[in-house]
Symmetry: C2
Subunit: 205 residues, 2 copies
Amino acid sequence: MPTNIPDIVIGRLPVYLRALSRLLQEGQEVTSSHELGQRLGISSAQIRKDLSHFGGFGKQGTGYQIAYLVEQLRQVLKVDQEWEVALVGAGDLGSALAHYKGFTNRGFRIAYVFDSSPDKVGKKLGDFPIRPMSELQQIVRDNGIKIAMIAVPAEKAHEVANQLIEAGIRAILNYAPINLNVPSNVHVQYIDPVLHMQRMTYYLA
Amino acid sequence: MPTNIPDIVIGRLPVYLRALSRLLQEGQEVTSSHELGQRLGISSAQIRKDLSHFGGFGKQGTGYQIAYLVEQLRQVLKVDQEWEVALVGAGDLGSALAHYKGFTNRGFRIAYVFDSSPDKVGKKLGDFPIRPMSELQQIVRDNGIKIAMIAVPAEKAHEVANQLIEAGIRAILNYAPINLNVPSNVHVQYIDPVLHMQRMTYYLA
């Protein structure tokens, strides 16, 4: 596996994987950097350059075999396996995440759900029993879970993140509208719809 | 207002605004690019450079007046007003969005909710009556709505986007796991948690 791939390139690979998986679903077998670029609004040169970091996957003039490219991208991104995910927060957002069907076949499965509210603990969220925060660290450790989603209010997010990291979590998807300070060996990605919307209103007349 | 600000800079302004609003909430009045950088994991030089595009807002050595900077950033991002937002899709995700309290005071208010399912139309989602898709274009036009969220399945997203754009929507937050082809005068931002998680698994051992 090559190293020192720019993070911005890594960030585009899941976008390619998603588009290619969709083409495959639609029954297509071969595509080109041109076609993919059209679908994604990314230049074909950029796509070829990005994929060349990993050997290129395609032969000049014959296009990409989609199934093969999908398999290769899954390996590169390490989603040719299924990662168990711990979800912290069983409110409206946590509930939507627990019910979300989009994780299936893309490398992830919510395996455990935690909440601090005595009203929620012990109840079920979809198929998941809602577990107390007191069990979080033990369960994460015992099951070697590396990925967590934080769906708690902003003021609780840092404390939750610290507990998760102490128990061995190395990747956090943070839905709380706050930046987390984490050690350099922990990866954090953020989802805050307002940030995306504010980025667009700048351009509106 | 300056033009030709790189989009990557625009993308960071909402992050600054969020952190500064939080400092203000915590009762702080003055901050520095150093402190802000520490909170955000962004270099203080980057922050000063980004803000200098808009006049700088700060005086050398005295730091930033947070309330003033917040007000200026709100104006730059055009969220010193409240934008009405149309939400399409009243499933689990749409429901979580309709209940989400994080839009308040950040420039947005979901004003209308639409769904195509006869089972849902006419019912209520929180405070919102769920309206049929047949009313979408008229309501968007009559109310001059410019921003929409798409929370429908992937296979329906393009059709919904086309309807929205035809009615005058110019900014779309797309939760459907698919890239949208839109005219150049329409802005699209994407939220797909799996893309973020796949970006992190690459780095996991």
